[in-house]
Symmetry: C2
Subunit: 205 residues, 2 copies
DNA sequence: TGTACATCAGTGAACGCGCGTTCACTGATGTAC
DNA sequence: TGTACATCAGTGAACGCGCGTTCACTGATGTAC
Protein backbone atom coordinates (compact mmCIF):
# COMPACT_ATOMS: atom_id res chain seq x y z
CA UNK A 1 0.00 0.00 0.00
CA UNK A 2 1.13 3.44 -0.87
CA UNK A 3 0.43 4.77 2.60
CA UNK A 4 2.89 2.33 4.10
CA UNK A 5 5.64 3.53 1.84
CA UNK A 6 5.13 7.24 2.03
CA UNK A 7 4.65 9.39 5.09
CA UNK A 8 3.31 12.32 3.14
CA UNK A 9 -0.08 12.76 4.74
CA UNK A 10 -1.34 15.41 2.39
CA UNK A 11 -1.92 13.13 -0.51
CA UNK A 12 -5.19 12.70 -2.29
CA UNK A 13 -5.59 9.03 -1.50
CA UNK A 14 -5.42 8.37 2.19
CA UNK A 15 -4.66 4.69 1.99
CA UNK A 16 -6.17 3.57 5.28
CA UNK A 17 -9.15 5.80 5.70
CA UNK A 18 -11.46 3.25 7.22
CA UNK A 19 -9.18 2.65 10.16
CA UNK A 20 -8.35 6.32 10.42
CA UNK A 21 -12.05 7.10 10.71
CA UNK A 22 -12.56 4.49 13.39
CA UNK A 23 -9.57 5.73 15.34
CA UNK A 24 -10.75 9.33 15.21
CA UNK A 25 -14.27 8.23 16.10
CA UNK A 26 -12.99 6.39 19.10
CA UNK A 27 -11.06 9.37 20.37
CA UNK A 28 -14.08 11.58 19.90
CA UNK A 29 -16.21 9.00 21.67
CA UNK A 30 -14.00 8.88 24.74
CA UNK A 31 -13.75 12.65 24.82
CA UNK A 32 -17.42 13.46 24.72
CA UNK A 33 -19.43 10.30 25.25
CA UNK A 34 -21.61 8.35 22.82
CA UNK A 35 -23.90 11.26 22.05
CA UNK A 36 -21.00 13.38 20.83
CA UNK A 37 -20.24 11.06 17.93
CA UNK A 38 -20.71 12.99 14.70
CA UNK A 39 -19.80 12.08 11.17
CA UNK A 40 -18.66 15.56 10.25
CA UNK A 41 -16.48 15.92 13.30
CA UNK A 42 -14.91 12.51 12.71
CA UNK A 43 -14.05 13.45 9.13
CA UNK A 44 -12.76 16.81 10.33
CA UNK A 45 -10.34 15.11 12.69
CA UNK A 46 -8.99 12.86 9.99
CA UNK A 47 -8.60 15.89 7.74
CA UNK A 48 -10.93 14.57 5.09
CA UNK A 49 -14.27 15.67 3.69
CA UNK A 50 -17.40 14.31 5.31
CA UNK A 51 -18.82 12.43 2.31
CA UNK A 52 -15.64 10.39 1.97
CA UNK A 53 -16.76 8.37 4.96
CA UNK A 54 -19.57 6.94 2.88
CA UNK A 55 -17.06 4.91 0.90
CA UNK A 56 -16.53 2.81 4.02
CA UNK A 57 -19.64 3.16 6.16
CA UNK A 58 -23.23 3.37 5.04
CA UNK A 59 -24.15 5.78 7.83
CA UNK A 60 -23.02 7.29 11.10
CA UNK A 61 -24.81 4.45 12.80
CA UNK A 62 -22.57 1.99 10.99
CA UNK A 63 -19.48 3.70 12.38
CA UNK A 64 -20.87 3.35 15.88
CA UNK A 65 -21.50 -0.34 15.29
CA UNK A 66 -17.93 -0.64 14.03
CA UNK A 67 -16.66 0.84 17.27
CA UNK A 68 -18.82 -1.52 19.29
CA UNK A 69 -17.37 -4.44 17.34
CA UNK A 70 -13.87 -3.26 18.11
CA UNK A 71 -14.81 -3.00 21.74
CA UNK A 72 -16.30 -6.47 21.88
CA UNK A 73 -13.22 -8.00 20.32
CA UNK A 74 -10.88 -6.20 22.68
CA UNK A 75 -12.93 -7.15 25.68
CA UNK A 76 -12.93 -10.78 24.59
CA UNK A 77 -9.14 -10.65 24.46
CA UNK A 78 -8.97 -9.16 27.94
CA UNK A 79 -11.22 -11.85 29.37
CA UNK A 80 -9.35 -14.67 27.64
CA UNK A 81 -6.14 -14.06 29.52
CA UNK A 82 -5.12 -17.09 31.49
CA UNK A 83 -5.57 -16.79 35.23
CA UNK A 84 -2.44 -17.09 37.34
CA UNK A 85 -4.16 -19.29 39.93
CA UNK A 86 -6.97 -21.60 39.02
CA UNK A 87 -8.69 -20.86 42.30
CA UNK A 88 -9.04 -17.14 41.73
CA UNK A 89 -9.85 -17.37 38.07
CA UNK A 90 -13.38 -16.07 38.44
CA UNK A 91 -12.32 -13.06 40.44
CA UNK A 92 -9.60 -12.32 37.93
CA UNK A 93 -12.04 -12.51 35.06
CA UNK A 94 -14.32 -10.10 36.89
CA UNK A 95 -11.46 -7.73 37.53
CA UNK A 96 -10.39 -7.90 33.89
CA UNK A 97 -13.94 -7.09 32.83
CA UNK A 98 -14.13 -4.03 35.04
CA UNK A 99 -10.62 -2.96 34.07
CA UNK A 100 -11.66 -2.93 30.43
CA UNK A 101 -14.70 -0.80 31.20
CA UNK A 102 -12.62 1.64 33.22
CA UNK A 103 -10.06 1.94 30.45
CA UNK A 104 -12.74 2.55 27.80
CA UNK A 105 -15.70 4.03 29.62
CA UNK A 106 -17.52 5.63 26.71
CA UNK A 107 -16.86 2.67 24.45
CA UNK A 108 -18.24 0.42 27.14
CA UNK A 109 -21.41 2.47 27.32
CA UNK A 110 -21.69 2.46 23.56
CA UNK A 111 -21.47 -1.32 23.64
CA UNK A 112 -24.55 -1.28 25.84
CA UNK A 113 -26.60 0.76 23.44
CA UNK A 114 -26.08 4.30 24.67
CA UNK A 115 -26.10 6.73 21.79
CA UNK A 116 -28.15 4.57 19.45
CA UNK A 117 -31.60 5.91 18.78
CA UNK A 118 -34.41 3.65 19.87
CA UNK A 119 -35.42 3.00 16.30
CA UNK A 120 -31.98 2.42 14.81
CA UNK A 121 -31.00 -1.00 13.67
CA UNK A 122 -27.55 -0.41 15.12
CA UNK A 123 -29.09 -0.97 18.52
CA UNK A 124 -30.02 -4.55 17.79
CA UNK A 125 -26.67 -5.26 16.16
CA UNK A 126 -25.01 -4.14 19.34
CA UNK A 127 -27.19 -6.36 21.46
CA UNK A 128 -25.97 -9.40 19.59
CA UNK A 129 -22.41 -8.33 20.24
CA UNK A 130 -23.13 -8.18 23.95
CA UNK A 131 -24.34 -11.74 23.91
CA UNK A 132 -20.85 -12.75 22.83
CA UNK A 133 -19.38 -11.14 25.90
CA UNK A 134 -21.88 -12.95 28.05
CA UNK A 135 -21.04 -16.28 26.49
CA UNK A 136 -17.43 -15.79 27.46
CA UNK A 137 -18.39 -15.17 31.05
CA UNK A 138 -20.54 -18.25 31.07
CA UNK A 139 -17.72 -20.31 29.59
CA UNK A 140 -15.53 -19.21 32.47
CA UNK A 141 -18.17 -20.19 34.96
CA UNK A 142 -18.71 -23.54 33.30
CA UNK A 143 -15.35 -24.68 34.60
CA UNK A 144 -16.51 -24.25 38.16
CA UNK A 145 -20.25 -24.80 38.37
CA UNK A 146 -22.72 -27.55 37.52
CA UNK A 147 -24.45 -26.86 34.25
CA UNK A 148 -27.90 -26.45 35.75
CA UNK A 149 -26.85 -23.37 37.70
CA UNK A 150 -25.00 -21.80 34.84
CA UNK A 151 -27.65 -19.53 33.39
CA UNK A 152 -28.55 -17.96 36.70
CA UNK A 153 -25.02 -17.84 38.05
CA UNK A 154 -23.78 -16.29 34.83
CA UNK A 155 -26.46 -13.66 34.92
CA UNK A 156 -25.61 -13.00 38.54
CA UNK A 157 -21.95 -12.46 37.81
CA UNK A 158 -22.58 -10.44 34.69
CA UNK A 159 -25.02 -8.19 36.50
CA UNK A 160 -22.52 -7.64 39.27
CA UNK A 161 -19.57 -6.70 37.07
CA UNK A 162 -21.76 -4.71 34.70
CA UNK A 163 -23.32 -2.69 37.48
CA UNK A 164 -20.05 -2.19 39.30
CA UNK A 165 -18.31 -1.12 36.10
CA UNK A 166 -20.91 1.53 35.47
CA UNK A 167 -20.94 2.82 39.01
CA UNK A 168 -17.16 3.13 38.97
CA UNK A 169 -17.23 4.81 35.56
CA UNK A 170 -19.89 7.21 36.75
CA UNK A 171 -17.71 8.23 39.67
CA UNK A 172 -20.29 6.90 42.06
CA UNK A 173 -18.02 5.08 44.49
CA UNK A 174 -16.89 6.90 47.56
CA UNK A 175 -13.59 8.66 47.38
CA UNK A 176 -11.98 7.12 50.42
CA UNK A 177 -10.07 3.96 49.76
CA UNK A 178 -8.30 2.58 46.76
CA UNK A 179 -10.72 1.80 43.96
CA UNK A 180 -8.91 -1.40 43.00
CA UNK A 181 -9.17 -2.63 46.55
CA UNK A 182 -12.88 -1.81 46.68
CA UNK A 183 -13.50 -3.71 43.46
CA UNK A 184 -11.55 -6.69 44.76
CA UNK A 185 -13.60 -6.84 47.93
CA UNK A 186 -16.93 -6.52 46.14
CA UNK A 187 -16.03 -9.39 43.84
CA UNK A 188 -15.00 -11.38 46.85
CA UNK A 189 -18.55 -11.08 48.12
CA UNK A 190 -19.74 -12.70 44.92
CA UNK A 191 -18.23 -15.92 46.16
CA UNK A 192 -19.30 -15.63 49.78
CA UNK A 193 -22.64 -13.93 49.55
CA UNK A 194 -24.22 -11.53 51.96
CA UNK A 195 -25.53 -14.16 54.32
CA UNK A 196 -25.12 -13.37 57.98
CA UNK A 197 -21.61 -14.59 58.81
CA UNK A 198 -21.54 -18.19 59.89
CA UNK A 199 -19.57 -19.11 62.95
CA UNK A 200 -15.91 -19.55 62.20
CA UNK A 201 -16.26 -18.04 58.76
CA UNK A 202 -14.85 -14.62 59.40
CA UNK A 203 -14.99 -12.19 56.55
CA UNK A 204 -11.98 -10.02 55.97
CA UNK A 205 -12.46 -6.52 57.36
CA UNK B 1 -56.12 27.75 40.76
CA UNK B 2 -58.14 28.48 37.72
CA UNK B 3 -57.17 25.24 36.03
CA UNK B 4 -58.68 23.26 38.87
CA UNK B 5 -62.03 24.96 38.44
CA UNK B 6 -62.30 24.97 34.70
CA UNK B 7 -61.75 22.12 32.28
CA UNK B 8 -61.54 24.34 29.25
CA UNK B 9 -58.09 23.48 27.96
CA UNK B 10 -57.95 26.09 25.22
CA UNK B 11 -57.45 29.04 27.48
CA UNK B 12 -54.59 31.44 27.26
CA UNK B 13 -53.26 30.69 30.73
CA UNK B 14 -52.59 27.03 31.17
CA UNK B 15 -52.63 27.02 34.94
CA UNK B 16 -50.33 24.08 35.54
CA UNK B 17 -47.86 24.29 32.73
CA UNK B 18 -44.83 23.22 34.68
CA UNK B 19 -46.34 19.87 35.55
CA UNK B 20 -47.84 19.51 32.11
CA UNK B 21 -44.38 19.97 30.59
CA UNK B 22 -42.86 17.40 32.90
CA UNK B 23 -45.61 14.92 32.15
CA UNK B 24 -45.21 15.34 28.41
CA UNK B 25 -41.43 15.16 28.75
CA UNK B 26 -41.73 11.92 30.63
CA UNK B 27 -43.94 10.34 28.02
CA UNK B 28 -41.58 11.45 25.30
CA UNK B 29 -38.67 10.08 27.30
CA UNK B 30 -40.19 6.64 27.66
CA UNK B 31 -41.17 6.58 24.01
CA UNK B 32 -37.82 7.40 22.52
CA UNK B 33 -35.16 7.23 25.20
CA UNK B 34 -33.13 9.99 26.85
CA UNK B 35 -31.65 11.27 23.61
CA UNK B 36 -35.09 11.95 22.15
CA UNK B 37 -35.91 14.60 24.72
CA UNK B 38 -36.47 17.90 22.94
CA UNK B 39 -37.84 21.14 24.20
CA UNK B 40 -39.80 21.89 21.08
CA UNK B 41 -41.40 18.47 20.97
CA UNK B 42 -42.33 18.68 24.64
CA UNK B 43 -44.04 22.04 24.10
CA UNK B 44 -45.70 20.68 21.00
CA UNK B 45 -47.24 17.86 22.97
CA UNK B 46 -48.61 20.18 25.60
CA UNK B 47 -50.01 22.37 22.83
CA UNK B 48 -48.03 25.39 23.83
CA UNK B 49 -45.31 27.45 22.17
CA UNK B 50 -41.72 26.45 22.81
CA UNK B 51 -40.55 29.63 24.54
CA UNK B 52 -43.24 29.31 27.19
CA UNK B 53 -41.20 26.56 28.78
CA UNK B 54 -38.61 29.13 29.76
CA UNK B 55 -40.98 30.52 32.36
CA UNK B 56 -40.47 27.32 34.32
CA UNK B 57 -37.14 25.85 33.25
CA UNK B 58 -33.95 27.67 32.42
CA UNK B 59 -33.03 25.16 29.73
CA UNK B 60 -33.80 21.76 28.29
CA UNK B 61 -31.18 20.39 30.63
CA UNK B 62 -33.20 21.68 33.58
CA UNK B 63 -36.24 19.74 32.40
CA UNK B 64 -34.18 16.58 32.28
CA UNK B 65 -32.95 17.20 35.81
CA UNK B 66 -36.56 17.74 36.85
CA UNK B 67 -37.44 14.33 35.46
CA UNK B 68 -34.53 12.73 37.25
CA UNK B 69 -35.71 14.29 40.50
CA UNK B 70 -39.17 12.89 39.97
CA UNK B 71 -37.62 9.51 39.32
CA UNK B 72 -35.48 9.58 42.42
CA UNK B 73 -38.45 10.48 44.60
CA UNK B 74 -40.60 7.75 43.15
CA UNK B 75 -37.88 5.19 43.52
CA UNK B 76 -37.36 6.19 47.12
CA UNK B 77 -41.06 5.55 47.73
CA UNK B 78 -40.87 2.14 46.10
CA UNK B 79 -37.91 1.12 48.22
CA UNK B 80 -39.48 2.42 51.42
CA UNK B 81 -42.34 -0.05 51.32
CA UNK B 82 -42.34 -2.25 54.37
CA UNK B 83 -41.30 -5.81 53.78
CA UNK B 84 -43.84 -8.51 54.51
CA UNK B 85 -41.29 -10.76 56.22
CA UNK B 86 -38.30 -9.36 58.03
CA UNK B 87 -36.18 -12.23 56.76
CA UNK B 88 -36.68 -11.53 53.08
CA UNK B 89 -36.55 -7.77 53.36
CA UNK B 90 -33.33 -7.44 51.41
CA UNK B 91 -34.56 -9.54 48.52
CA UNK B 92 -37.79 -7.60 48.45
CA UNK B 93 -35.93 -4.31 48.37
CA UNK B 94 -33.87 -5.61 45.48
CA UNK B 95 -36.96 -6.75 43.65
CA UNK B 96 -38.65 -3.39 44.22
CA UNK B 97 -35.59 -1.64 42.84
CA UNK B 98 -35.58 -3.70 39.68
CA UNK B 99 -39.36 -3.42 39.34
CA UNK B 100 -39.04 0.37 39.33
CA UNK B 101 -36.38 0.25 36.63
CA UNK B 102 -38.49 -2.08 34.51
CA UNK B 103 -41.52 0.12 34.84
CA UNK B 104 -39.58 3.26 33.92
CA UNK B 105 -36.67 2.09 31.78
CA UNK B 106 -35.80 5.35 30.05
CA UNK B 107 -36.28 7.36 33.21
CA UNK B 108 -33.97 4.95 35.00
CA UNK B 109 -31.31 5.44 32.38
CA UNK B 110 -31.75 9.19 32.55
CA UNK B 111 -31.19 8.98 36.29
CA UNK B 112 -27.84 7.42 35.54
CA UNK B 113 -26.71 10.22 33.30
CA UNK B 114 -27.68 8.99 29.86
CA UNK B 115 -28.65 11.88 27.64
CA UNK B 116 -26.72 14.52 29.49
CA UNK B 117 -23.80 15.90 27.56
CA UNK B 118 -20.43 15.31 29.17
CA UNK B 119 -20.01 19.00 29.85
CA UNK B 120 -23.49 19.80 31.13
CA UNK B 121 -23.97 20.63 34.76
CA UNK B 122 -27.13 18.55 34.75
CA UNK B 123 -24.90 15.51 34.81
CA UNK B 124 -23.44 16.33 38.17
CA UNK B 125 -26.84 17.26 39.61
CA UNK B 126 -28.05 13.83 38.65
CA UNK B 127 -25.12 12.13 40.27
CA UNK B 128 -26.05 13.67 43.59
CA UNK B 129 -29.57 12.35 43.17
CA UNK B 130 -28.20 8.85 42.69
CA UNK B 131 -26.33 9.06 45.95
CA UNK B 132 -29.70 9.41 47.67
CA UNK B 133 -30.86 6.14 46.18
CA UNK B 134 -27.67 4.47 47.36
CA UNK B 135 -28.12 5.79 50.89
CA UNK B 136 -31.52 4.14 51.02
CA UNK B 137 -30.04 0.82 50.03
CA UNK B 138 -27.38 1.16 52.66
CA UNK B 139 -29.98 2.02 55.27
CA UNK B 140 -31.76 -1.22 54.44
CA UNK B 141 -28.55 -3.17 54.76
CA UNK B 142 -27.68 -1.50 58.04
CA UNK B 143 -30.46 -3.47 59.71
CA UNK B 144 -28.74 -6.73 58.87
CA UNK B 145 -25.01 -6.19 58.68
CA UNK B 146 -22.25 -4.90 60.97
CA UNK B 147 -21.32 -1.35 60.15
CA UNK B 148 -17.80 -2.16 59.02
CA UNK B 149 -19.05 -4.21 56.10
CA UNK B 150 -21.69 -1.75 55.08
CA UNK B 151 -19.85 0.24 52.43
CA UNK B 152 -18.68 -2.80 50.51
CA UNK B 153 -21.85 -4.82 51.00
CA UNK B 154 -23.94 -1.85 49.90
CA UNK B 155 -21.88 -1.37 46.80
CA UNK B 156 -22.13 -5.08 46.10
CA UNK B 157 -25.89 -5.07 46.31
CA UNK B 158 -26.27 -1.84 44.40
CA UNK B 159 -24.02 -3.10 41.62
CA UNK B 160 -26.01 -6.28 41.36
CA UNK B 161 -29.45 -4.69 41.15
CA UNK B 162 -28.19 -1.89 38.92
CA UNK B 163 -26.55 -4.27 36.49
CA UNK B 164 -29.45 -6.68 36.50
CA UNK B 165 -31.94 -3.87 35.97
CA UNK B 166 -30.08 -2.67 32.92
CA UNK B 167 -29.63 -6.13 31.44
CA UNK B 168 -33.33 -6.81 31.84
CA UNK B 169 -34.23 -3.42 30.39
CA UNK B 170 -31.93 -4.02 27.47
CA UNK B 171 -33.67 -7.30 26.73
CA UNK B 172 -30.47 -9.16 27.39
CA UNK B 173 -31.83 -12.03 29.44
CA UNK B 174 -32.69 -15.24 27.72
CA UNK B 175 -36.25 -15.67 26.61
CA UNK B 176 -36.94 -18.99 28.25
CA UNK B 177 -38.32 -18.77 31.74
CA UNK B 178 -40.29 -16.21 33.58
CA UNK B 179 -38.34 -13.00 34.08
CA UNK B 180 -39.63 -12.47 37.60
CA UNK B 181 -38.47 -15.93 38.55
CA UNK B 182 -35.04 -15.31 37.04
CA UNK B 183 -34.68 -12.09 38.99
CA UNK B 184 -35.72 -13.81 42.19
CA UNK B 185 -33.13 -16.50 41.77
CA UNK B 186 -30.32 -14.09 40.93
CA UNK B 187 -31.08 -12.07 44.03
CA UNK B 188 -31.10 -15.27 46.02
CA UNK B 189 -27.51 -15.81 44.98
CA UNK B 190 -26.65 -12.47 46.52
CA UNK B 191 -27.23 -14.06 49.89
CA UNK B 192 -25.59 -17.39 49.20
CA UNK B 193 -22.75 -16.48 46.92
CA UNK B 194 -21.23 -18.47 44.12
CA UNK B 195 -19.03 -20.61 46.31
CA UNK B 196 -18.95 -24.26 45.38
CA UNK B 197 -21.98 -25.73 47.13
CA UNK B 198 -21.27 -26.96 50.62
CA UNK B 199 -22.47 -30.38 51.65
CA UNK B 200 -26.06 -30.33 52.75
CA UNK B 201 -26.65 -26.84 51.45
CA UNK B 202 -28.58 -27.70 48.32
CA UNK B 203 -29.40 -24.82 46.08
CA UNK B 204 -32.82 -24.82 44.50
CA UNK B 205 -32.74 -26.01 40.90
C1' DT C 1 9.36 2.77 -22.04
C1' DG C 2 5.27 5.16 -23.01
C1' DT C 3 0.38 5.96 -23.44
C1' DA C 4 -4.77 5.18 -23.07
C1' DC C 5 -7.94 3.87 -19.96
C1' DA C 6 -10.93 1.88 -16.28
C1' DT C 7 -11.36 2.24 -11.50
C1' DC C 8 -12.70 4.34 -7.59
C1' DA C 9 -11.14 7.27 -3.48
C1' DG C 10 -11.98 11.72 -2.09
C1' DT C 11 -14.25 16.60 -3.07
C1' DG C 12 -17.22 20.91 -2.86
C1' DA C 13 -21.55 22.52 -2.94
C1' DA C 14 -25.95 22.04 -1.73
C1' DC C 15 -30.36 20.15 0.42
C1' DG C 16 -33.54 19.99 3.97
C1' DC C 17 -34.02 19.75 8.48
C1' DG C 18 -34.95 20.65 13.31
C1' DC C 19 -32.88 22.20 17.08
C1' DG C 20 -32.29 25.55 21.62
C1' DT C 21 -32.71 30.03 22.60
C1' DT C 22 -33.75 35.26 22.45
C1' DC C 23 -36.69 39.10 21.69
C1' DA C 24 -40.24 42.37 21.82
C1' DC C 25 -44.97 41.57 22.07
C1' DT C 26 -49.94 40.56 23.56
C1' DG C 27 -53.52 39.01 26.16
C1' DA C 28 -55.63 37.38 30.54
C1' DT C 29 -55.70 37.80 35.36
C1' DG C 30 -56.66 39.60 39.94
C1' DT C 31 -56.30 43.56 42.90
C1' DA C 32 -56.71 48.37 44.60
C1' DC C 33 -59.53 52.02 44.73
C1' DT D 1 -70.30 47.50 41.22
C1' DG D 2 -67.11 49.36 38.05
C1' DT D 3 -62.71 50.82 36.28
C1' DA D 4 -57.54 51.53 35.95
C1' DC D 5 -53.58 49.15 36.36
C1' DA D 6 -49.56 46.15 37.49
C1' DT D 7 -48.27 41.58 36.76
C1' DC D 8 -46.66 38.03 34.23
C1' DA D 9 -47.97 33.73 31.46
C1' DG D 10 -47.83 32.60 26.85
C1' DT D 11 -46.82 34.07 21.67
C1' DG D 12 -44.81 34.52 16.86
C1' DA D 13 -40.99 35.48 14.43
C1' DA D 14 -36.44 35.16 13.99
C1' DC D 15 -31.40 33.93 14.87
C1' DG D 16 -27.65 31.07 14.20
C1' DC D 17 -26.23 26.73 14.11
C1' DG D 18 -24.59 22.18 12.80
C1' DC D 19 -26.15 18.11 11.47
C1' DG D 20 -26.50 13.59 8.08
C1' DT D 21 -26.79 12.77 3.55
C1' DT D 22 -26.89 13.21 -1.76
C1' DC D 23 -24.99 14.58 -6.04
C1' DA D 24 -22.20 15.21 -9.92
C1' DC D 25 -17.46 15.93 -10.07
C1' DT D 26 -12.18 15.49 -10.14
C1' DG D 27 -7.94 13.67 -9.45
C1' DA D 28 -4.70 9.81 -8.51
C1' DT D 29 -3.74 5.12 -9.21
C1' DG D 30 -2.27 0.88 -11.45
C1' DT D 31 -2.82 -2.02 -15.42
C1' DA D 32 -3.11 -3.52 -20.31
C1' DC D 33 -1.16 -2.98 -24.48
Amino acid sequence: LRSLRSKKSDQYHHGDLRNALLTAARELLEEGGPSSLGLREIARRVGVSAPSAYHYFSSLDAIAVGLAEQGTNEMAECLAVEASHKASQLAQTGEAYIAFARANPALYRLMFGEGFSATSKGGVAVRDLRQMAFDIIKARLAERLPEGDLAIAGLFLWSLVHGLSLLVIDGQIEKKGDTDEVIRRVLELAGNGLAVPRMGARRRV
